[in-house]
């Protein structure tokens, strides 16, 4: 009965988008913090290679979060 009144496709879309974007993007943002934090620590210890690696990891993770956010808003605003 419920399946006949609710738009199941739309509801499933809300569920999978929420899980993918909600958990995925927060995890990637966590990676950005790990990258930034470890880059600073490596730099202080004089480990240039580590600092560059973690710095790049942090920047890429942050770029992914920003790009995904912009993509999400752009998708939403398709009227």
């Amino acid at each position: 009965m419920i399946a006949s009144v609710v738009d199941t496709g739309a509801l499933l879309e809300v569920i999978w988008v929420s899980i993918a974007a909600g958990i995925g993007l927060t995890a990637i943002y966590g990676m950005a913090i790990v990258g930034a934090s470890r880059a600073v620590d490596s730099g202080r210890r004089g480990h240039t290679g580590g600092a560059v690696f973690y710095g790049a990891l942090g920047l890429v993770a942050l770029a992914v979060v920003v790009a995904a956010t912009v993509f999400g808003i752009e998708t939403l605003s398709d009227k």
């Binding site: 009144v5 509801l11 909600g22 927060t26």
Partner: protein, 374 residues
């Protein structure tokens, strides 16, 4: 001429509802940022107001649902729309007065359904595909989904950043909350301002200004609804901020980030498909989820229970007030006299509530001063 006067009253009432919606609901949006000290209250509220305004321009799917799918636009009268709006505003004011974060969205839908039921009968209300399919089921799914997503997110985040020093983690997530809090405000503006747009459009259809077969939301409706919710947001709702931000559980910045992120993606995804969700329900689910995932005892379940009670009561209570309002306006006939009398009563009641709140604050201040000096 009289029809146009009623349209003006209905549009003004709808924008007043939108203002109270911003005033009442958006406190929930900024509470986590304030609770974790990611932003000062003043900056958080101003930031949320700007993004609420911007969010209102993103989509019109929810407005279409409200205008077309919940009640039959061909059968609805202007007085029924007015009754529904007053039902929603009154319930918002009552829950604001008692500090309960109920749902403005469900107050609006409840009010509309109650007034239309009394005015036009059950055939004018779409109980199956409208109320059940587009309101009730998403209303149940959204907070549970936000609870689960926020809970899973915080567990994943703790795994990722658990071995780092606390200071950079706190700083990083505070910065992240600028993004997640902004997204949540944008999501609120998108979903909630559209409900007002939908109601105003419904009134314009009822008045014959817009043809039902040629449905569109006029630009002035979008701009005025965006402005009203942004102004309401800026006016704030400090009492509800306190309930949402710290009385459910004390949050760290990672929890705040996870809760806001989960709430925002659920609301934005639902807005895309036209589900009129409640920001309050969704962010409450996310806030509780982020706390429960860390430690079940960290959540003040008594406060969470009061919030759930307010949710359950919202639809029937707003429906009753909407039905009562419609009945009162009909005592004065089908003209503008009824809405004008009801507006006067609402304004007087609102003024009374504000005076009582001010008096209570005055008594509390005197009590605090006596404790300090005594």
């Amino acid at each position: 001429m009289e029809g146009d006067l009623i349209v003006v009253i209905v549009v003004a009432t709808a924008l007043a509802f939108d203002f109270t919606n911003g005033f009442h609901d958006t406190a929930n949006v900024v509470a986590t940022s304030i609770s974790t000290r990611a932003m000062s209250p003043r900056i958080a509220v101003g930031y949320a107001a700007i993004l609420n305004f911007a969010g209102a321009f993103l989509s019109l799917a929810v407005a279409a649902t409200i205008a077309n799918d919940v009640v039959d636009p061909a059968a609805v009268s202007l007085l029924a729309v007015f009754g529904g709006l007053v039902g929603a505003i009154t319930w918002n004011l009552i829950t604001w007065y008692f500090g309960l974060p109920s749902s403005s969205s469900h107050a609006l839908i409840g009010g509309m359904v109650g007034a239309v039921l009394v005015a036009e009968g059950p055939s004018a209300v779409s109980f199956d595909e409208g109320i059940l399919g587009k309101v009730m089921i998403p209303a149940v799914v959204a907070p549970i989904l936000a609870f689960l997503v926020a809970g899973a997110s915080i567990l994943v985040l703790y795994k990722i950043v658990g071995r780092l020093r606390p200071r950079p983690v706190t700083v990083g997530f505070r910065a992240g909350q600028v993004l997640s809090g902004g997204l949540l405000a944008l999501a609120h503006g998108t979903n909630d301002a559209q409900k007002t747009m939908g109601v105003i459009t419904l009134a314009l259809v009822a008045n014959g200004t817009i043809s039902q077969s040629d449905f569109y939301v006029p630009d002035w409706v979008v701009v005025s609804a965006a402005s009203a919710i942004a102004l309401g947001t800026y006016a704030g709702g400090w009492r509800i901020i306190k309930t949402m931000g710290s009385r459910i559980h004390k949050m760290d910045t990672a929890q705040g980030f996870a809760a806001q992120g989960a709430g925002a993606v659920v609301i934005l995804a639902a807005s895309k498909v036209g589900f009129p969700l409640s920001t309050t329900h969704t962010i409450s689910g996310a806030v509780i989820g982020s706390g429960a995932a860390k430690r079940l005892s960290a959540v003040r379940w008594g406060v969470a229970g009061n919030i759930i009670l307010a949710w359950v009561m919202t639809l029937p209570a707003a429906a009753c007030i909407g039905a009562l309002t419609y009945s009162v306006t009909r005592i004065f006939g089908t003209g503008a006299a009824g809405p004008m009398v009801v507006c006067a009563l609402i304004l007087a009641g609102t003024a009374l509530l504000f005076v009582r709140r001010a008096q209570q604050r005055g008594i509390a201040s005197v009590g605090d001063a006596a404790e300090v000096t005594g």
